[in-house]
């Protein structure tokens, strides 16, 4: 009984039982054995500012799938756990889900640190982890399906576009001090060189630090003509505010960001970001009926008429569907079945068509560049005509004709040559 009640509550995300009703009816009607999946995000601690929304999006997808008949006629039962913004807790909860609850598929996490902390659990016990966040690449696990962007999907059109369209030649690279921004900076530098641009500085601020006085002053005095920001998390808000407070404007010296999303823009107030750019595969402003409906459904799901959607959130949503299709294709939900089934799986997500790369289990996404507007939405100023291939090792010379990460795993020989 406790299990039923529990999953009921979980499927409703924040405990709204009305939303869980269809699932409940379905379950009693079909009386089929539910398929259990894990949902592992930080519901407490500093990272919950973002991860709560990812958790909600995952729950929404599960609720929708259940409402439309489940997976192979079986309802999904989500076991929700709290990573508490702490890799130790992540590791413990991952073991709980995979070993304790014998769950094969888990959707979860935002930071690389937490993914790295749960990885050994999934690899040693052969379970599948669906990871919805853009990350630095350099990973080739047969137990992870990566549905967020890798550096080439955010940068390969971004840097050339800034140089050619905006005519900017001298960059100030700034980021939070950890692996993702440093790796992004590395790829940026390669692309800048290829496009005949230079960078005047490559500076970092402690993750979570929001004191930007000195940094923005440096930017001001650096003589750069564009700022490339890989700043992550709550620091973003303080950064843009300080930027304007020190009298810098995006018209003359735009911030071109890789991580600033609708969440941060809403928090800082659009007036601080108007005119700046972000490169992401998904924006809330994507003008398709599918996306508009998605935003509406999300808002009513979380009961917040002003809630925003963003890239990692959209990936959290569509990756559940990719998993569903994989299970249905394989006819069962074991790790092997999911892994093989998900290869090449396609889905029309709110942001457009996505495909899981059959080789490296990363996802084909469409790079887009948006300029932030006064209403807090990004106006898409540039987009790839089609989804592009994910290259997790692009910084080491990986190209679409020479993949480092294939279904046989990482080809170290190629990496060595780089």
């Amino acid at each position: 009984m406790s299990l039923n009640r529990r999953s009921l509550l979980k499927a409703s995300g924040i405990g709204a039982s009305t939303l869980a009703m269809p699932y409940f009816f379905h379950r009693s009607a079909a009386a089929a054995e539910p398929l259990r999946v894990g949902v592992l995000f930080s519901l407490t601690g500093g990272l919950s500012i973002i991860e709560k929304s990812l958790s909600d999006a995952t729950m929404m997808a599960i609720t929708e799938i259940n409402a439309s008949g489940g997976v192979m006629g079986r309802p999904i039962e989500a076991v929700l756990e709290d990573g508490a913004s702490d890799p130790k807790t992540y590791n413990e909860k991952a073991s709980k889900l995979v070993i304790g609850d014998k769950i094969v598929t888990v959707f979860g996490s935002y930071t690389s640190a937490s993914r790295k902390a749960v990885l050994p659990v999934f690899e040693k016990h052969d379970a599948m982890y669906f990871y919805p966040t853009y990350y630095e690449g350099f990973e080739c696990s047969r137990n992870v399906v990566y549905t967020g962007a890798v550096p080439n999907q955010q940068l390969s059109n971004f840097i050339p576009w800034i140089v050619k369209t905006l005519g900017k030649k001298k960059f100030f690279i700034v980021g939070s001090n950890y692996i993702y921004p440093r790796e992004m900076a590395k790829v940026c530098k390669i692309l800048m060189k290829q496009n005949g641009a230079t960078y005047v500085a490559d500076e970092y601020l402690e993750l979570g630090d929001s004191e930007w006085g000195s940094m923005v002053n440096k930017i001001k005095n650096s003589g750069c003509d564009a700022v490339l920001s890989n700043v992550v998390g709550d620091s973003v808000v303080a950064f843009y505010r300080e930027y304007k407070n020190q009298g810098l404007t995006h018209e003359t010296l735009p911030i071109c960001a890789t991580v600033t999303s609708e969440i941060e823009i809403a928090a800082m107030g659009p007036e601080y970001a108007v005119g700046s750019y972000t490169s992401f595969p998904y924006f809330m402003a994507i003008d398709t009926p599918r996306n508009k409906a998605f935003v509406q459904r999300y808002r009513s799901f979380v009961k917040d008429p002003k809630a925003v959607t963003h890239h990692a959130l959209e990936s959290s949503y569509f990756q559940v569907f990719l998993w569903k299709q994989a299970v249905e294709k394989a006819g069962k939900a074991t790790a092997d079945a999911v892994r093989e089934g998900v290869r090449g799986q396609e889905f029309d997500s709110p942001g457009g068509h996505v495909t899981v790369d059959p080789n490296n289990l990363h996802t084909y996404l469409t790079p887009r560049i948006a300029q932030w507007q006064a209403d807090g939405q990004g106006k898409i100023v540039n987009a790839y005509p089609h989804p592009i291939e994910p290259l997790p090792y692009v910084a080491y010379g990986e190209t679409d004709s020479n993949l480092f990460c294939t279904r046989n795993g990482l080809d170290v020989a190629k990496l060595r040559k780089s």
């Binding site: 709204a16 601020l205 929001s210 005095n221 709550d234 020190q246 928090a267 917040d304």
Partner: protein, 297 residues
């Protein structure tokens, strides 16, 4: 050069803004209030909620936040801190629990999220605070561009420091507070209502944190965990300055701010923070009682 000094001054004033309340609750009352950062957070949320629900502006939030966090501080003193006077490290542990509780209260929207009720302005996410347009941007003073918001923080901090100094050293209540600091039993024997004065002092210290929260909300990020890092910095400022010395706190905030700003300008922010931590360790080792000190209870 001017810009670096100004940023250092601004960093110092931000440190002091948070430390001021701690200097009172820790310095004068012997309570290590780990929930002080959460008071800052509550102050910041007061701005958010005030704007959303009462449609009051940023500046009008200042007195409101002072009152709300003051009342909250008063309640915490009554319920928790009162039983712990003289047990310094226990106050640290108990208020740590209070801090977790306050964070969760905001994140879970006072528990209403269990019932599927969402209150705008609360919850786990980031919040937006509207700042009056005239406070953003720069003003030119003598050929140098000065960040108006930071200038405003410096002024508010200076004003609060002055008011606090007046209260502590030029008012009857201040005399009573200082008497309690030095010897609570003797003070009680002299007819001072120790319980009342303690509650008021704690409330005032918390109120200062609330004001700090409003100031922070205008240029930093508002979310439930925003305060936890601040309390550590503030605590260091107070200890380095010398427990119980207002002047010490002012000077140590100024010193740490300038060092942070200066090192950051020459090298980078990360090294600057490391240097500040190192400096804190060094100062305590060389002068264990802080830059200025007297023996309290």
């Amino acid at each position: 050069m001017f810009d670096v000094i100004f940023i250092g001054l601004s960093l110092g004033s931000i440190l002091l803004l948070v430390a001021l309340g701690l200097a009172i609750t820790y310095g004068a009352m012997g309570v290590i209030n780990m929930a002080h950062g959460e008071m800052v957070m509550v102050g910041a949320y007061t701005t958010v909620m005030g704007g959303l629900w009462l449609h009051i502006g940023f500046l009008a939030s200042l007195p409101l936040a002072f009152v709300i966090t003051g009342l909250l501080g008063w309640a915490i003193e009554r319920i928790v801190v009162r039983r712990l006077y003289g047990r310094l490290l226990d106050t640290l542990l108990a208020t740590w629990g209070v801090a977790i509780l306050l964070q969760q209260a905001v994140r879970l929207e006072f528990g209403l999220s269990f019932f599927g009720i969402h209150i705008r302005g609360l919850g786990p996410g980031l919040q937006n605070v509207k700042v009056p347009a005239w406070m953003t941007g720069v003003v030119s003073i003598g050929g140098d561009q000065v960040n108006i918001y930071r200038l405003f923080i410096i002024l508010v901090t200076a004003a609060l420091t002055f008011v606090t100094w007046l209260l502590m050293f030029r008012s009857d209540i201040g005399i009573q507070v200082r008497a309690i600091t030095r010897n609570p039993r003797m003070a009680a024997a002299c007819g001072i209502d120790v319980q009342r004065i303690n509650a008021l002092t704690f409330a005032y210290g918390s109120g200062l944190a609330g004001v700090a929260g409003v100031m922070m909300s205008g240029f930093k990020t508002v979310f439930p965990d925003m305060g936890s890092a601040m309390v550590v910095d503030g605590f260091m400022v107070v200890v380095v300055g010398g427990v119980g010395s207002l002047l010490g706190s002012v000077l140590s905030a100024g010193l740490l701010g300038q060092v942070n700003g200066g090192v950051a300008a020459v090298t980078n922010d990360i090294l600057a923070r490391a240097v500040v931590f190192g400096l804190v360790i060094l100062i305590i080792i060389i002068k264990p009682t802080g830059l200025f000190s007297f023996k309290g209870r």
